[in-house]
């Protein structure tokens, strides 16, 4: 439970008296939500523009060389000129990232469910998982290139899968296990089977944990895919494209590829936010007008 959640709960509890008078529920939505929406995104948009303008202005003012830091205008023009190539590379990398993400997340969910269901499995598995999580797994990339053939996208997916596996698995397992004991007593009192308790209490309870870890994993998956590409393989992917253009001192091209990676990363993240809203409309972080 987040700190915010606690604060909201407390404010509800102190509101008992006013609710007692009219028996009216606390909270609710209003037209203020629309204003809040603008108020929420406007500052971010403004500061984004300010950063870009400062970047452009300062690189011009101090005459910073393009090979050190290209101006945003140079990056944008390269981005438009090389549109087909960078986006082609971008989608190949995205394919590796999403493929690895799906494999890693599926494996993580299966492990979490097993860990929540069987104590023996949990006690045997979790310590290993936690120590594996502390290992910089990206170091495995050359080995996976060797295992799965350096030219196959599978070798990159394997790296991504292993990188996203641990945060998702550890967070989801926590969500499945850290259930309010009185909710478990309630389920026992109505003679619910372990499967019913899993389905009706543990899994819904784990959803916020799962989505928090999926947001982290979405960013990690692109990072892992690009870093895995640095270790070699086909040339028409973002990692290799960035290396090649940088080696040729075509830095605006390299930056255009980074821009593509960033757009893909943000899109992936936003899709997961959308899925979160779809799957848990009840969650505190999504309550409008609070």
């Amino acid at each position: 439970m987040t700190e915010r959640d606690h604060i909201i709960r407390e404010s509800h509890e102190t509101d008992v008296l006013s609710a007692f008078e009219g028996d009216v529920p606390v909270g609710g939505r209003g037209p203020a939500a629309i204003r809040k929406f603008g108020g929420k995104y406007l500052p971010a948009l403004v500061s984004f523009l300010v950063v870009i303008l400062l970047w452009e202005g300062l690189t011009r003012l101090f005459g910073i060389e393009t090979f050190v830091l290209p101006k945003p205008s140079e990056i944008i023009s390269s981005f438009i000129e090389t549109w087909d190539v960078v986006w082609g590379a971008g989608f190949k990398t995205l394919f590796e990232a999403v493929g690895g993400f799906i494999i890693g997340v599926s494996a993580a969910l299966l492990t979490s469910l097993a860990a929540a269901r069987w104590v023996g499995f949990r006690e045997g598995m979790l310590p290993i998982a936690i120590s594996a999580n502390a290992t910089p797994i990206i170091a495995l990339a050359p080995i996976f290139n060797n295992w799965f053939s350096i030219t196959s996208p599978l070798s990159k997916m394997a790296v991504v899968a292993v990188v996203v596996y641990f945060p998702v698995m550890i967070n989801t397992t926590r969500g499945l296990l850290e259930v309010d004991p009185s909710e478990l007593e309630l389920m026992r009192s109505v003679a619910a089977t372990p499967t019913e308790t899993m389905r009706r209490v543990r899994i819904p309870h784990a959803l916020p944990f799962l989505f928090a870890s999926l947001k982290v994993a979405s960013a990690l998956s692109l990072i892992a895919a690009i870093v895995a590409e640095y270790f070699g393989g086909p040339q028409d992917v973002l990692g290799q494209y960035i290396i090649n253009r940088a080696n040729l001192f075509q830095f605006p091209d390299a930056w255009a590829a980074i821009l593509v990676a960033s757009i893909l990363g943000v899109t992936f993240y936003v899709l997961i936010l959308g899925a979160e809203r779809l799957f848990m409309p009840w969650h505190v972080s999504l309550r409008a007008g609070e």
Binding site: H12, V16, S182, S189
Partner: protein, 256 residues
């Protein structure tokens, strides 16, 4: 007449060896159908433990305990009792209606029957207009009323309440007590009510069992001979104050 609760010489020890703690000893408790019994005592006197033994959330280590003439485990599997906890324990992701339907879903009631009973229960606790709200939109008292509706939805013969109003303010608490008495009168259910509030125990119960700690025992039983119809005037009657004093003195005797 079968006894709803029949406990003879029941004891409960937590842990074993040198760490063993005797939580309850020599508990005798016989409850007839329709009775309303409160367990009162200081923290650590084992009143919640006793309730959990009846609910088969814990197992006694000695003595004999029957619920509806069955083992507590069998009574739980037969869904003989409904339980209300200190916190409302509503599932955040379910609306009020879906929370009330939860036990019915587990018991495989058909969808129409579930919604019919949920409506009926929400009517009973006067929350019918809040059926589609989420728990966080309700005040503490309303949440606890939903928990009561949920406990009654499958028409158990016994209602177990574990300090259900402990987190509520005094005024809401008094309203809720009135509500519980009304439900008790309308449904004829038997109630075991755990509390640490003396006025609450006296106002609600037909019998108050005073418990003392280390180990938890029932030290005295006080019959509450207030008229069956209880309301605000009951709270102002001299007999009510006499009974409160009686319970308080019993609690104090237990401490010394």
């Amino acid at each position: 007449m079968t006894m709803v609760v029949d406990a003879r010489g029941v004891g409960k020890v937590f842990g074993s060896g040198v760490d063993a703690v005797q939580a309850l000893a020599d508990i005798d408790l016989v409850m007839e159908t329709g009775d309303f019994v409160s367990l009162i005592g200081p923290s650590g006197c084992g009143k919640s433990t006793l309730l959990r033994l009846v609910a088969d959330l814990l197992e006694p280590t000695s003595g004999e305990l029957l619920v509806n003439a069955k083992t507590p485990s069998q009574a739980r599997l037969d869904r003989d009792y409904g339980m209300v906890f200190q916190s409302a324990t509503l599932l955040d992701w379910r609306t009020v209606r879906k929370n009330v339907e939860l036990p019915l879903e587990i018991m495989d009631f058909a969808a129409e029957e579930r919604s019919r009973r949920a409506e009926e229960m929400l009517d009973l606790v006067q929350l019918d207009s809040f059926a589609d709200h989420y728990p966080w939109q309700l005040s503490g008292g309303m949440q606890q009323r939903v928990a009561i509706a949920r406990a009654l939805a499958f028409q158990p013969s016994l209602l177990l309440m574990d300090e259900p109003f402990g987190a509520l303010d005094e005024m809401t608490r008094e309203l809720m007590q009135q509500e519980v008495l009304r439900l008790w009168g309308e449904t004829g259910i038997s109630v075991v009510f755990v509390t640490h509030s003396i006025p609450e125990a006296v106002f609600l119960s037909r019998r108050v069992l005073v418990m003392t700690p280390r180990p938890g025992r029932i030290s005295s039983e006080i019959a509450i001979d207030l008229p069956p119809e209880r309301d605000l005037s009951t709270r102002e009657s001299p007999r009510y104050f006499e009974l409160i004093t009686e319970v308080r003195e019993a609690l104090r005797r237990g401490e010394s």
